[in-house]
C-alpha cells in the first residue's frame, strides 16, 4: 500500500498523478474463504479490516452487490456522537467514537472526522430534564457532555431562533463537543483500501442470492458469480437484513424503512456544529463543501425503495426554517433516501444466531454511521471468537426473547416510531 501523505501527493503531482496505484484490487472470487462478509458498506468493510488486523484472519471476502459504500454508508447525514443514555449503547458508541478519533491515522486515509460538536436542543422543561439525565449518564460513563443554557446556545449557534415566541422556544441544549461529522464515502474507501492491503478480497457488483445450509451450519453463499464456500458467514447488509437473513432461513426483529436526507446549495460557513432537536425530529450540519446537510424522521412505512415521499421532506424543511429562519431563501439542491434496518427497540444487533457459524450485524436504524468502527471491531471479535465481546454481549438477538431490550426512546416495538 502506497502511503498517502502530502509528500506522495507532491511527488505524484510531478508525474501528473499518472502513477497512483489502485486503492484496492478487483479480485476474482476464490472458491472458498474462512470468512465471508455479505455487504460492502462501512460495517462489512470494517469487519473485514479488523478480522485481518486484530485476529489475523485474512482469508476473507467482502461481497457487495453494488458499489462499495453505496448503501447507507454513502447516503447518511454523517453525524458521529456517543450521547446515549442506556449503558449498553453508551459503552458501545463511546468505544466506537474512540476508534474514530484515531481512524484517519490507522487507515492512512483522511476520513475527515470533524469534532465540531453535536448540540441537542431542549425546548421544554421536560427536555431539560431528559437532556440533563442523559448528559449525567454520559459523564458518569466517562463520556464528555455539557449542558448549555439559552444564552450559551445562542452564542454557540448564532443563527438559531432563540426568541421566546418561537413555536418551540429553545431553552438550552446538551452539547457533546467530541461529536461531529465525518466524510461518509471516505470511511468505506479507507476501510476497503486498508482491508485490501491486508489481503481481504473485496468483490463488488456481486449480489448474494442464496445462503447454503447444512442443518444448523452455513456452508457458503450463492452469488451472481457462483457459489463461494465459507467457514463462517457474517451479514452486514443494513436495510436488506431481512432479505439476506431470510436466505438462511432466519426471521429477524427488523423492519426496513426509508429515511430521507437532503442538502442545500453550498454557501459559505454559517453553521459550525451539528444541531439536532428531538422535539421537532430534525438534525442539520454544514459540510466542508458548504451544503447544509439535513434530515428528520422516517417515512413511516416499510420500504425498500431508496426513495421517499413528500410529507417527510416537508417536515424536515419546516423544522429547518423554524429553527433557522434565515435559511428560508436557501434552496434544496438534492434529496435522496436510504433504507434503514429498524430494530424493534431502536438499538443495534451484533450477534450470533441460532445457526452455528452465521452472524448478524444489523438494527442500525438511522444511527449506524457513527457505529462503523466499533461495529466492525465487535463483529470481527464475535466472528473470530464465536462469542460476543462484553461490550456487544448485551446487543444480542436473544434480548428480544428475554425482554432485556434497549429502548432509548421508550417507544416500544413500533420501529417506524423510533
Amino acid at each position: 500500500m502506497v502511503k498517502y501523505s502530502i509528500f506522495s501527493l507532491l511527488r505524484n503531482a510531478v508525474s501528473n498523478h499518472e502513477n497512483w496505484p489502485e486503492a484496492w484490487r478487483s479480485p476474482t472470487p476464490k472458491p472458498a474463504y474462512d470468512v465471508v462478509i455479505i455487504g460492502g458498506g462501512g460495517h462489512g468493510l470494517a469487519t473485514a479490516y479488523y478480522l485481518a488486523k486484530e485476529h489475523g484472519i485474512t482469508n476473507v471476502a467482502v461481497i457487495e452487490k453494488g458499489y462499495l459504500g453505496g448503501g447507507n454508508t454513502g447516503r447518511n447525514t454523517t453525524i458521529v456522537r456517543s450521547n446515549y443514555i442506556l449503558e449498553a449503547n453508551a459503552h458501545f458508541y463511546e468505544f466506537s467514537l474512540k476508534l474514530w478519533e484515531g481512524l484517519s491515522a490507522d487507515l492512512n486515509f483522511n476520513v475527515m472526522l470533524s469534532q465540531r460538536g453535536v448540540l441537542n436542543l431542549a425546548h421544554t422543561d421536560a427536555d431539560i430534564d431528559a437532556h440533563s439525565r442523559r448528559g449525567n449518564a454520559m459523564r458518569l460513563n466517562g463520556i464528555d457532555a455539557e449542558f448549555l443554557n439559552r444564552e450559551q446556545v445562542k452564542a454557540f449557534v448564532p443563527l438559531l431562533d432563540c426568541s421566546e415566541n418561537a413555536r418551540y422556544p429553545i431553552m438550552g441544549g446538551l452539547l457533546q463537543r467530541r461529536g461531529g461529522t465525518a466524510r461518509h464515502d471516505a470511511v468505506a474507501w479507507g476501510y476497503a483500501r486498508a482491508a485490501d492491503a491486508r489481503g481481504v478480497d473485496i468483490i463488488q457488483n456481486c449480489a448474494v442470492t442464496g445462503i447454503r445450509r447444512e442443518g444448523r451450519r452455513v456452508v457458503g453463499v450463492e452469488t451472481e458469480r457462483g457459489f463461494i464456500a465459507a467457514k463462517k458467514v457474517g451479514i452486514a447488509v443494513a436495510g436488506n437484513s431481512g432479505v439476506v437473513a431470510g436466505m438462511a432461513g432466519l426471521r429477524l426483529p427488523i423492519e426496513t424503512h426509508v429515511l430521507q436526507a437532503l442538502v442545500s446549495e453550498p454557501v459559505k460557513p454559517v453553521l459550525d456544529c451539528v444541531v439536532t432537536s428531538g422535539a421537532v425530529h430534525f438534525y442539520i450540519s454544514q459540510s466542508d463543501k458548504g451544503e447544509l446537510v439535513m434530515g428528520g424522521d422516517l417515512d413511516f412505512c416499510n420500504s425498500y425503495a431508496q426513495r421517499g415521499n413528500f410529507p417527510a421532506i416537508e417536515h424536515v424543511i419546516r423544522s429547518a426554517v423554524a429553527l433557522f429562519p434565515s435559511f428560508s431563501r436557501l434552496r434544496m439542491l438534492r434529496l435522496w433516501a436510504g433504507i434503514m434496518d429498524m430494530s424493534m427497540d431502536g438499538s443495534p444487533i451484533i450477534s450470533k444466531t441460532p445457526l452455528d457459524n452465521f452472524y448478524v450485524n444489523c438494527g442500525w436504524c438511522y444511527g449506524g454511521f457513527k457505529a462503523t468502527p466499533g461495529s466492525g471491531w465487535m463483529f470481527a471479535y464475535t466472528i473470530a471468537k464465536d462469542e460476543p465481546h462484553p461490550i456487544n454481549a448485551p446487543l444480542s438477538l436473544d434480548r428480544y426473547i428475554s425482554g432485556r431490550v434497549y429502548d432509548e426512546k421508550g417507544q416500544g416495538p413500533t420501529p417506524w416510531a423510533h
Binding site: 478487483s26 431539560i128 449525567n136 413555536r167 446549495e265 415521499n309 425482554g403
Partner: protein, 1000 residues
C-alpha cells in the same frame, strides 16, 4: 439604449418600451423587460461573471436556462439575498442588484485563484490523502478549507417574504410549454379534461422562443400565441408560467414551484413570493425538452465558450450578440441553423467546425451563406484568460484525436453543440428506466413505471414536426385514459421537414499540447477529464464512485451539462459501453427550490399546529405565561407582582394543601365509550378489573403496551351500565384513542362498543384542597357534594354555576378534589364562577408547575419521566393492581425474565440529607460518587422539586432494587450541573400515604 454595446437595435422578444436599470458588482447597467440577468449582462458586454468552486477560475455564461453551471450570482441584498442564483433564469427587474460570489476581493482579481496555481497538487480526492499529519492540525486545515469552499453567502435574517402551498388535481398534467407540451395540452384540453400545463419560463413556447421556426407557413411564435390563446380560453385548463415541476413523487404526485413575483423587486402586498403546487395527476405528459451538451477540449471553460443553443437564444430572443466573432463547434446539424441565426444577428461566424466528415445538406447551406465549414475538424483548445481570444482547430480522427496541424482562429465566442440530452430528469424520478439511444448518443425514456409519457425533445424526438405530433397524440391519449374524449389525435400543423445528417458522438477532443491543460467536464465543481482518469486509475470505476470521488455532477446544476460527457469519458477509460456504465441517479429537485416555498405558510409560530384550551383567553387575561405540552399551550403559573417564579409555585402549591386552588385540566384526553361490551373492552385494555365497577363510580386504570411497559393511565367512570367516560393523559390522548380503535377494529371487532373522542367537548377544571367542597357547594344546587352522596371516586351530573356539568371526585394533587367538566364554550365562565365562589377561601388558580409539585409530593408517577416506556407496573409499585384472573394487552409480556428481574429499577422517593439543598434535575443515582469513571449508576432522578408543603427538597427516582433500599444513603450526581447531593431513599408518597385527605 446606449451602454448596451452587444444589443441589436431591433428584434427579439424584449420590451424596448420598458428599459430597466440594474447593478452588477456595484456597476449600473441597463436592460429591458423580457431580459434575463444573463442576457442583460451579455448585452452590456459583461462576460466574466463568476469564479469556479475549487480553482476559482474565471467563468462566463455558458447556457441560457436551467443547465447553467457557471453564472451563479448573489442576487438581492440583506435579508432577501439569494446565493447561488443562476443568472440565466433571473428575470430582470428594475433596481435588481447582483454580484459575483466566491471571489475576493473581486471577480476580476480573485486571490482564491491561487488555488488554481496549486491545481496540480490538488487532483480529485486529494484531501483523502493528506491533512492527516499531525492529526491535531486537521481542525485548522478544515477551517481554511471551509472558508475557501462554499459559494454564495447565506442571508442572516428572517426572510421578508411570504410563501404558500396548495394542492391541485387534474386529468392531464403537462410539464413543459414548448411545442410538444403546448400540443399535448391543446389536444387534452379539447376533450374537456382538466389540464394543467406548467413551464419554468416566463413565456410559453419553449425552444421556439429562441429559434426562428416555421409552423403552417407562419412564424412558429404565431402558432404559439394562437395555441396559448386557445388554451387560456378553456375553463378547465390552467397555465402556470414561471413554474418548475421539480419532483415526480409516488403515485403521480408532482411538486411544482411557481415563482410568482421573483421578477419584481418584491411581491405586491398580500401576495406570496412563491407558491408550491402539489399536483396529483391521472396522466402526466413530460415535454421537458432537451439540453444541449458541450464538447470537452483544453481550457474549455474560458468566458465566451457557450452552448450553441444559448448563443442562438440570446440572439433571437434577446437581440443580444454573445460575442463579435464566433467559432461554432458541432457534431450535429442543429448548430447550422443556429449559426445562420447568429450571422443574421450580426455575429461574424469565423468558422463552423464540424467533427463529421460531411455535414450534408446543412453544411452545404452554410457554405452557400458564406460560412467557412471545417469538416472532420475539432477545437483542440481555447486561448485567453478572463475571456476567450482564440481557438486552436485541427483535423481530428474518429476518436477525437488531433490528426493534423492546428490552426489558430481568433474569436471571442466559441459555440458548442455536442448533441442533445433529453431532459429525462422527471421521467427518471418517476421510477422509469432510461434507455441509451445510439442514434442520438443519449439516454431517452425507456420503461415507464408511473402514468407518464414523454414527448418531443424529452423523448429524443428533436424534429419540430415530431414534437407536435407526439404532443398531440399524448394529450389525446392521456385524456382518453383519464376518461375524456375518444383518444382521436387532432391533425398536426404542417411543417417542412429538413433532411438531417446523423450526428456523430464525440465527447472530448484530445490535442497534443500540454498535459497540464485543463479539460473541464463539470464546470461548476472543476472536474476535469484527468480527474476522471485518476479516479479510474485508483479503482473508483463505478460511475457512482467517479461521481463521489471527483464530485462530478454534484454542483447546483447537478451535472445537466457534464454528466453524460463524464460517463462517456469513463466508458472509454474502463472499456465498457455507455449503457453498461449507466447514469448516476436522478434525484429531485430538477432545479434547486427555496426552502420557504416548500413549506408555505408553516413558518415561525405556525410551524406546528397549536392547541388552546377553552380557558386560554382567561389565562391570558390573568397574565399567565404558557408552556408547550405536546401541541398544547398550558398556563404555567399565575404570578403576582413582585413574585419570582419559584415563589409563585410555592404559593400556589401551598394554597391547595391549606385551602383551595383550581386548575385547567382540559387537555386531558376524554373518550366516550358506549355499548354492551364496553366493560369487556376496558377489561382487555386495563391491567385491573372493570366489570364490577358500579354506575356513578370512577376507577383509576393503567394500560400497557403489548410489550408489558406502562403506556398510559387515567380514571374511567361508569356513567351507565353500558356507558363509560375515559380520561387519558394529555400526552397520550391521541395515541390512546388510536389504540382503542386498533384493539377494537383489529383484534376484537365482535365487541359491541362505540368510542368517540370528546376531548374537545368538555372544559375541565380541578378544584382541589380542603375547601374544595365548600367552593363547589356554593356553585351547585342540584348536586349533593357531600362525602356520602359524592364520595371519593364518585361522579355526579347536574349543574354547576348554572352550567350543565359532570363532577368527578378524583384527585391528582392528593387533596380532596373535584373535577368539573362543562361544555367548552363555558371554559372561561366556569373559571370566573369558581374564582368568585372561592373568594371567601382565598382561592387561587394554579398552573402546571404547582400541579407538578403537588403530584410529586403525592408520589404520582407521570407518563414521561417515570413511565418512560421502559417501566412495568411493578417498577412503579403497582403490581397489586395487576389482575390475575383475566388477560389484557401486555400481560403475557410481564412474565418474561427481564421483566421479573429483581435488579429492576423501582420507583422510590428521595429526601436530601440537607433539607434546603436542591436535587439537580436529571441527576443519576450512584452509590459511590468518588468511584473512578465509568462510575456505576443504580438509578436516576425522574422528577424533583422543592416541596413548599414539606419545606424541603424531594424527588422521585427509579432505583435498582429501590423498594429494598428505604433508609439507604445514595448520591444524586449531576456532573453537568457540577453538583452531587446526598439523599436518603424513602417511599415515593411523601404526603398523606394513606390517602385520608382524599376521602374527607
Amino acid at each position: 439604449m446606449n451602454g448596451q454595446p452587444f444589443r441589436n437595435p431591433s428584434g427579439g422578444l424584449i420590451d424596448r418600451a420598458r428599459p430597466l436599470s440594474f447593478t452588477f458588482n456595484g456597476r449600473r447597467h441597463a436592460g429591458y423587460a423580457g431580459d434575463t440577468l444573463a442576457s442583460a449582462l451579455l448585452a452590456n458586454g459583461v462576460r466574466l461573471v463568476a469564479r469556479s468552486f475549487k480553482y476559482h477560475r474565471p467563468r462566463g455564461i455558458v447556457g441560457a436556462g436551467a443547465e447553467e453551471p457557471n453564472a451563479l450570482v448573489q442576487l438581492r441584498e440583506g435579508a432577501a439575498t439569494e446565493p447561488d442564483t443562476r443568472a440565466t433564469q433571473v428575470e430582470l427587474f428594475d433596481g435588481l442588484v447582483a454580484k459575483s460570489q466566491n471571489c475576493w476581493p473581486s471577480v476580476g482579481f480573485d486571490l482564491g485563484a491561487l488555488a488554481g496555481l496549486l491545481a496540480s497538487a490538488l487532483p480529485a480526492g486529494f484531501y483523502y490523502k493528506t491533512f492527516m499529519w499531525p492529526a491535531s492540525w486537521w481542525p485548522t486545515y478544515e477551517h481554511h478549507i471551509r472558508r475557501i469552499a462554499g459559494m454564495g453567502e447565506a442571508p442572516r435574517d428572517r426572510d421578508p417574504d411570504r410563501y404558500d402551498y396548495r394542492h391541485a388535481h387534474c386529468d392531464v398534467l403537462v410539464v413543459g410549454g414548448g411545442p410538444a407540451g403546448l400540443a399535448a395540452a391543446l389536444a387534452a384540453g379539447r376533450t374537456g379534461a382538466r389540464v394543467i400545463l406548467v413551464d419554468e419560463g416566463a413565456a410559453l413556447g419553449g425552444s421556439l422562443l429562441g429559434e426562428q421556426a416555421v409552423i403552417d407557413g407562419r412564424p412558429a411564435l404565431a402558432w404559439v400565441e394562437e395555441t396559448v390563446g386557445a388554451l387560456a380560453a378553456m375553463p378547465d385548463v390552467l397555465l402556470l408560467r414561471r413554474a418548475t415541476a421539480f419532483a415526480y413523487n409516488d403515485h403521480d404526485m408532482l411538486a411544482i414551484v411557481e415563482r410568482r413575483f421573483d421578477h419584481m423587486a418584491s411581491p405586491p402586498p398580500f401576495e406570496t413570493r412563491q407558491r408550491l403546487w402539489l399536483v396529483r395527476a391521472e396522466r402526466v405528459v413530460l415535454a421537458t425538452g432537451a439540453i444541449e451538451r458541450p464538447i470537452v477540449f483544453a481550457e474549455n471553460d474560458r468566458p465566451g465558450v457557450m452552448l450553441v443553443s444559448a448563443a442562438r437564444a440570446y440572439a433571437n430572443r434577446y437581440a443580444v450578440r454573445a460575442g463579435s466573432r464566433a467559432v461554432v463547434f458541432t457534431n450535429n446539424d442543429s448548430a447550422y441553423g443556429a449559426a445562420l441565426d447568429l450571422a443574421r444577428a450580426g455575429i461574424e461566424v469565423a468558422a463552423m467546425v464540424d467533427v463529421r466528415p460531411d455535414g450534408g445538406e446543412a453544411a452545404r447551406r452554410a457554405r452557400a451563406a458564406g460560412i467557412r465549414v471545417l469538416a472532420a475538424h475539432g477545437v483542440l483548445a481555447a486561448h485567453g484568460g478572463r475571456s476567450v481570444e482564440a481557438v486552436s482547430v485541427a483535423p481530428i480522427d474518429g476518436t477525437g484525436r488531433a490528426a493534423g496541424r492546428a490552426e489558430r482562429i481568433d474569436c471571442d465566442l466559441v459555440c458548442l453543440s455536442g448533441g442533445w440530452n433529453p431532459a429525462i430528469h422527471l421521467f427518471s424520478q418517476s421510477g422509469g428506466r432510461a434507455r441509451y439511444e445510439p442514434a442520438i448518443a443519449a439516454f431517452v425514456p425507456g420503461t415507464s413505471v408511473q402514468a407518464e409519457r414523454s414527448v418531443g425533445a424529452a423523448r429524443g424526438s428533436f424534429a419540430l414536426a415530431d414534437a407536435l405530433a407526439e404532443g398531440l397524440a399524448a394529450g389525446a391519449t392521456g385524456a382518453a385514459e383519464a376518461g375524456f374524449g375518444d383518444g382521436a389525435v387532432p391533425p398536426a400543423p404542417g411543417i417542412d421537414r429538413a433532411v438531417e445528417a446523423p450526428m456523430r458522438p464525440l465527447w472530448a477532443v484530445h490535442g497534443v499540447g500540454s498535459k497540464r491543460a485543463k479539460r473541464f467536464v463539470d464546470f461548476q465543481n472543476d472536474v476535469t477529464a484527468a480527474d476522471i482518469a485518476l479516479a479510474v486509475r485508483e479503482g473508483y470505476r463505478s460511475v457512482e464512485h467517479v461521481k463521489r470521488y471527483t464530485t462530478l455532477g454534484m454542483g447546483t446544476d447537478q451535472g445537466k451539462l457534464g454528466n453524460i460527457q463524464g460517463l462517456a469519458i469513463l466508458s472509454g477509460l474502463v472499456g465498457a459501453d455507455i449503457p453498461a456504465v449507466g447514469t448516476t441517479t436522478f434525484r429531485p429537485p430538477y432545479t434547486p427550490v427555496a426552502f420557504g416555498a416548500i413549506i408555505g405558510h408553516a413558518t415561525g409560530a405556525d410551524f406546528d399546529p397549536v392547541r388552546r384550551t377553552p380557558m386560554y383567553d382567561w389565562h391570558v387575561r390573568r397574565g399567565a405565561p404558557f408552556v408547550n405540552t405536546g401541541l398544547w399551550k398550558r398556563a404555567q403559573v399565575f404570578p403576582r407582582p413582585g413574585e419570582t417564579v419559584l415563589e409563585t409555585i410555592g404559593r400556589e402549591a401551598r394554597a391547595v394543601r391549606t385551602s383551595v386552588g383550581f386548575v385547567d385540566v382540559s387537555t386531558l384526553g376524554k373518550i366516550d365509550i358506549q355499548g354492551g361490551d364496553a366493560a369487556e373492552l376496558l377489561d382487555r385494555l386495563y391491567i385491573n378489573n372493570w366489570k364490577k365497577l358500579a354506575v356513578g363510580k370512577a376507577r383509576y386504570g393503567i394500560m400497557l403496551r403489548e410489550d408489558g411497559m406502562v403506556f398510559d393511565d387515567g380514571t374511567t367512570t361508569r356513567l351507565a351500565e353500558d356507558h363509560f367516560f375515559m380520561t387519558t393523559t394529555t400526552a397520550n390522548a391521541v395515541r390512546v384513542m388510536s389504540m382503542l380503535e386498533y384493539v377494537h377494529q383489529v383484534h376484537w371487532p365482535e365487541l359491541e362498543v362505540h368510542m368517540t373522542s370528546v376531548s374537545e367537548q368538555w372544559a375541565g377544571v380541578a378544584i382541589a384542597g380542603p375547601n374544595a367542597r365548600n367552593v363547589l357547594s356554593r356553585l351547585t344546587s342540584d348536586i349533593d357534594v357531600g362525602n356520602e352522596a359524592l364520595p371519593y371516586m364518585g361522579c355526579a351530573e347536574g349543574t354547576v354555576a348554572g352550567l350543565p356539568a359532570r363532577v368527578f371526585r378524583i384527585s391528582f394533587s392528593g387533596e380532596m378534589a373535584y373535577e368539573v367538566n362543562v361544555p367548552s364554550d363555558y371554559g372561561a365562565a366556569i373559571m370566573d364562577a369558581i374564582m368568585a365562589a372561592g373568594e371567601p377561601f382565598d382561592i387561587i388558580p394554579y398552573g402546571t408547575e404547582a400541579l407538578n409539585v403537588l403530584r410529586i409530593e403525592k408520589g404520582h408517577f407521570v407518563v414521561g419521566p417515570e413511565a418512560d416506556g421502559r417501566t412495568t407496573p411493578d417498577d412503579l409499585g403497582l403490581s397489586g393492581m395487576v389482575s390475575k384472573t383475566k388477560d389484557f394487552i401486555g400481560k403475557r409480556s410481564l412474565s418474561r425474565p427481564a421483566l421479573t428481574d429483581p435488579e429492576r429499577k423501582q420507583l422510590v422517593g428521595l429526601l436530601t440529607v440537607d433539607p434546603g439543598e436542591r436535587i439537580p434535575r436529571g441527576a443519576q443515582i450512584v452509590e459511590d460518587p468518588s468511584h473512578p469513571l465509568p462510575c456505576p449508576m443504580v438509578g436516576q432522578v425522574t422528577s424533583t422539586c422543592f416541596s413548599p408543603n414539606l419545606g424541603r427538597s424531594i424527588a422521585l427516582a427509579l432505583v435498582k432494587r429501590g423498594r429494598s433500599r428505604y433508609g439507604e444513603r445514595l448520591y444524586a450526581a449531576s456532573p453537568v450541573a457540577g453538583r452531587t447531593v446526598e439523599v436518603t431513599v424513602v417511599h415515593h408518597v411523601f404526603i398523606d400515604p394513606k390517602g385520608e385527605r382524599l376521602r374527607v
